[in-house]
Every structure is written in C-alpha cells, then in structure tokens.
Symmetry: C2
Subunit: 397 residues, 2 copies
C-alpha cells in the first residue's frame, strides 16, 4: 500500500473542493490516496455570505455538507484544524493528529487584511465564514432590540461597512434591503437608521467599469446608503470609527470588508510570501517545491501585465481544476499544464433584483444583471454538486 502516493488537500474552499472533486473524477482506482482536511464538515459559498450576514437569507443556504459533495469511498475526509505545515518533513500537524503526504494542496483560505488600522481586528466583524456571518446577523438584530430599550442611543442604529470592494458593495446592497424590514419588525422610525459605506480608494469597486460603478452607487444611495469614498478609516474603536481628518462616526457595528491577505500558516511553513500569499509557479506550485500546490486566497498569480489577480472564487475554481490535472499528471509522469486565468466576467449584486456586471464582453445592469448573478450562482452549485444540489439550494438564490 505504501507505493500509492498520498495527496493531502488542506481546506475545502473553492480551490480545495474543486481540486478534490476533479481528483475524484480523474483518478483511477488505487492510483492515489486522497485526504481532504477542513475545519468544518461543510463547504461554504463565500460569494453568497453577504446575504446571511445581512439576514436576507438563511446561513444554511450558504453551506453544503462536504459528505454531499465528495464520495467518501474515493476521498477520505478529516474534520480538523491545521496547526502547522512542515514541508521539510512532508507532514501536516492537525489539532488532533498528523498527516503525511507525498503531494500537498494548500487552500486554507485568507484572513482579513486590516492594513494596520488600529482597533480594526479587535472591534470590527468580518464576512468570512458561516460563524462570522451568523454573528453579524445576530449582532445587527440585537442592536435594534437594544435601541428600543435605550432610544437615546442612535449609535445602535448606525451601521458602518468599511471597504467598497465586491464584498462591501454586495453586503451594503443586502443590508439596505434588510434594514427597513428590521425597522418594521422592531417598530423603529427608518429615518433614525444610518448605513455608511466607507472606502479609502478614490472610487467604489476599484478597477471596475466606472459607468456601472456610478449606476450601482446611485441604486444604493436611493436605498439610503451614505458613501464616504476617498475616505480612510483611521481607527476603529468600541464606539465607532475615526475617519478622514479626525471625524468620529459613532456606531456599535463596524463590518470590515477592506481586504484579504493570505494565511499565517503559509508564512510559518517557511514559504516566501507577499502579504501571506505565495507567488506560485506557472503550474501553481510553491517555488522550489515540486509536490506542493497552492490555490485560492493563499496563492498569488500575476496577469500578463505583471499585476496580481485579485483573489476571487472564479480564479480559485479554475486553479482547482488545473491543480487536480497537474497532480494526476505528476503521478502518471505526464507533462503539467500551465495555469492561465480566463476572466468569465464579474457581477456584483446590489440587493434584491439589482446588480451590475460585465460578462461576455458586455455591460449589464438592473434586473438582467441580477438574473445573470443568479445564473452564475446556479452554475457553481451545478459544478460542485450537480443537479441534485441545484434543486436543493438553487431555489433560495
């Protein structure tokens, strides 16, 4: 049995789960031992988390049990947390055990990048897991309940979203739908509620088509969002945030969506990193390690102009496919495939029935874009779980 190569996949995010699914499909019987390790026994659909965070959807619809995705006759699943990666020993230390590997796939996901803003890690919440979005949802509802007891505390009903990238904008879109609903539910005058979206860059959705960005911001402004663009958060405190030239916005709820960096585990493993991400070779391997692949938020891939691609679900999925191909090729002594990102378009939702996007080289907005977003989400469910998953979860999108 020892002659069968051991593949260990760390993380069941987009990159890890796609790698696992493809290996499951492409490997022949007894060609390799594959073990998938994940902190939770479910995979979550990160691009959907803005909805349960705002409370416009049930968190259950943003996760899928791993046992429903992988075939446990072909892939072993270990629910555990990775403590340390030891490339020199070809070992991974888990919270409750150790795994040896011949090939390793690292897709343990990113961590919030707070750019050293004081107080941000302590006092802000992040949209990054099922647990974190349940916390945000409950926290927001709780502020309404608290306000009814202490009606002088308007800071309970001031909500601050730091960062107007994709996650920030999509979350603000959902929250602007949800807040009027909470006002009705808790008998609160909607004019008391404030929703700020604060972004240090000179525009929302930096890098995105400016006409669509303008349209999107207008949609959100009409739903009550106050934008502060080109305004840096200087500090996050228990009482709110300090922005720009020292202005304080008092709030009990700060959600930070300003950035993702790599992972401490990657740095500690001794890989060369930039913001916790590894600049992988063309085959997605860690430099100097022919048996270690790095995917998703943990990897850094550059476009032909030499600038890093932002970490998205789309790129992670494509990486997973190539990573699985290269693992199989390595085992079979075939030649590896270079990774090349194919941008299939991007759609940002702005809440119910509204979105902006670019796909197939065209711009979309309004309900057509919202429908496109739904199609992308359905396609993803189909890719990972086939028709049964589409039927089970798709109706909630």
């Amino acid at each position: 049995m020892s002659s069968i190569p051991k593949i260990v996949i760390l993380g069941a995010g987009y990159g890890g789960i796609l790698t696992a699914l493809r290996l499951q499909k492409e490997l022949n019987y007894n060609e390799a031992d594959v073990t998938l390790v994940n902190k939770h026994d479910y995979h979550y659909i990160t691009t959907h988390l803005h909805m349960p965070a705002a409370g416009t959807d049930n968190p259950e619809n943003a996760r899928v049990s791993i046992s429903k995705l992988i075939d446990e006759f072909k892939i072993d699943f270990v629910k555990s947390t990775v403590v340390q990666i030891r490339p020199q020993d070809k070992k991974v230390i888990l919270e409750d055990g150790t795994l040896s590997y011949d090939y390793l796939v690292v897709g343990v996901g990113g961590e919030p990048e707070t750019f050293g803003i004081p107080g941000m890690s302590e006092y802000a919440m992040n949209i990054r897991s099922i647990n974190s979005v349940r916390l945000i949802r409950e926290h927001i509802e709780y502020q309404f309940a608290r306000y009814k007891r202490e009606p002088h505390r308007s800071d309970y009903l001031t909500f601050i979203v730091g960062g107007a990238g994709f996650t920030g904008i999509e979350f603000v879109g959902e929250l602007s739908d949800r807040l009027p609903e909470l006002c009705r539910q808790f008998d609160v005058d909607p004019s008391i509620v404030k929703l700020y979206n604060i972004e240090a860059a000179p525009t929302a959705l930096p890098g995105f088509d400016s006409e669509l960005v303008e349209y999107g911001m207008e949609v959100l402004r009409k739903k009550g969002v106050t934008f502060k663009i080109g305004t840096a958060i200087k500090e996050c405190t228990p009482d709110g945030v300090i922005v720009g030239e020292g202005e304080e916005i008092r709030s009990q709820t700060v959600i930070w969506t300003g950035g993702i960096r790599g992972n401490r585990l990657i740095e500690e493993a001794g890989f060369e990193t930039m913001r916790g991400r590894v600049k992988v070779d063309e085959y997605l391997r860690a430099p100097g390690s022919e048996n270690i692949y790095i995917v998703g938020d943990n990897s850094l891939v550059f476009n032909p102009e030499g600038r890093p691609y932002p970490p998205t679900a789309q790129i992670a999925m494509q990486q997973g496919v190539v990573c699985a191909h290269n693992l199989v090729a390595s085992i079979r002594n075939q030649s590896l495939k270079s990774f090349e990102f194919k941008n299939k378009g991007t759609v940002a939702s702005l809440g119910k029935g509204e979105a902006i996007g670019i796909a197939f080289g065209k711009k979309y907005k309004g309900s057509t874009a919202a429908w496109l977003k739904k199609l992308i989400d359905l396609r993803y469910l189909f890719i990972i779980g086939g028709i049964p998953l589409v039927l089970r979860k798709g109706k909630f999108l």
Copy 2:
C-alpha cells in the same frame, strides 16, 4: 359639550383594555367622552410573552393593534406616555400634552420588583413588554453567535432565570424547547448549554398544588433545566449571579421574573401605596377618591382571609369589567357593584405540549393541561377581539 363627563383610561393592559371595551359597549351615544391613553399603539398579551422571549413564537402574535380592538368613533385613543397624575387638578400630564378628566382609570401596569438585590435592575432583563421580549430573544441568539467566535466562553451559553413563579416557569419551559433548536442552528454541542432556574422560596410556584409542581419540575428537569430552589440570588453582576453562600454562576444572560411591584407614577400621585400598589376600596376606587379607579398591577385587592391576591391577567380582566360597570353607574347615578375575584383556575405551560393546571376544581397535567391553556388564550382573544381576532391570532397559540 362640557356637560358630558370625561373618562380617561391610562394604560391598555388587561385592566385598561377591558374597561375600554366594556364602556364602548355599555355607554349610550354622548353619555361620556372616553379617552384611552397608552404608550404603544398596541395591546400586548402579557401571558403570552414568555414565548416570543424564548423565541418559540413571533412577538407579533403577542400583540394586537389597539385600533383593531376599540371603535375610534366611540373612544379616542392617544398614543403617549404618562408623566404625572395630578388628582388634585383632575389632570394627567402626558409626554406631549395634558388631559383633564372627570373620571380616571389607572392601569399603567407594574414594574419589576428586584427586592433590592444589587445589580438586578442594571444587569438582568425582564419579561414585561414587546420591546423587552424582543431584547431577550435577540440577546439569547446573539450569545450563540458570540460563542462560536469565542468557544472558551461557556458563560455565553449559560442562561439564568431568576424566579420560579408563573412567568419564570413558563419562560423556562419555552427556553428549554428553544435551546436545542438554537444548538442545531448554530452547530453547538447541546451539552455545553446550561439553563438554571433559581428561586429563593422553598418551592417553585409558591402557593400552587405541590403534586403538580413536582410533576412540572420533573418535566422541566428532563428537558435540561437545573433548579436551585430555596436559593436566593445575592447579587447580579455583569458576569453572572452570586447565589446562596457566595457561589458564582457565570452567565451573560440573566432574566429576572422574581416579582412585580406597582408603579412609580402611583406613588408620585400621592396615593397611599404598598410596594407601589393602591389598596382600593370594594368598588375599585382609590381611597378617598370617588372618581379614580385603579385596576390591574396598580391595585391591591385582598381575599376574604385578608391576604392580597397576586396580580394576574385574570384578576385585571375581572376588575376591568367591574370598573366599567361602576363608571357607567356613577354617570347614571346608579348604585355601584362590589368587586369580588372569582378564581376560574390557573394553568402554567411547561413548553410544547406540556402544562399543569387547576380549573373547575380539578387538577390537569400533560397535554390536557396544555390544551386547556390554549383554550384560555383563545377565550381571551375572543373576549377582546371576537371571532375575527381568534381567527387572526388564534392559530399561533
């Protein structure tokens, strides 16, 4: 117009709303001006609040819009908060105005009695209004979400109910149904969750049939409730409670159901009070004031053995009926009716499908008692709102 007597009713609780409904029925056209004043534009069904507090029912099902109950052609409704009652001027000062009266009905409800336990008013929550139960529900859910971020904080999942009277027991019954549901929802191991019911008296439900109490406690124990009976809470702190001989139970959630006293407004009005309640005469009038009736938690009525009846919905409703009768009789110079409490029985729910009760001179337990409880609630809906209200709200009971 000045010859028409003005009746002002303060509070739309059980006593106030019943008075209003009966006046609406019995008074002839132009026989009196009736104004009902209430802090909210809804009446709430206090005996149902333990359910939305635990989260086993929607708070909407525990309230009824006052405009659905009273006929605004016959009774004026003023949504305002009473600031001061001035019997000598025959005036009531509201937050945003003043009302003169010829006859006054005071039914502004009670306040939690904390018996001077340090920290209890600051750190404990109470089951006493729609706002307060929404706070409790949201607070409890929030603790589960917080626990997932800080799994070493088991005090987030320790819930303390102070007082094992009717409210305490009924709330504990609901919460013991709700906690396993929350464990599933938040992926929490149920063995981590603790639910304490602490009572200083030597028994739960003091004064109730001891065989039924024993049965009820056994039902609740099986659902995971830990009773500490004959154990006084010495202090409530931000970290939990100190009980008995200095034992600390760490918890972020203390709900105090230990008692109800009268109202500060009553004391400030110059009436003679005991714990903020007025010992009314046989016609339910404040001693020495022929034109002021006091009902519900604000009044104190003694049984033939000379002991005060506990303040319940049942007694408040019966008072409302007699109060309205006596108001009409006064206006018509007819003779007044003495108030006599007729105990029609008592049922305490213990969560889904379980209850204990005494009615028609018989003991009930289990599902029969739970059904009886439902009938009592339906009957109340019928009394205040007729068949339409039973149809609208009754299905949720």
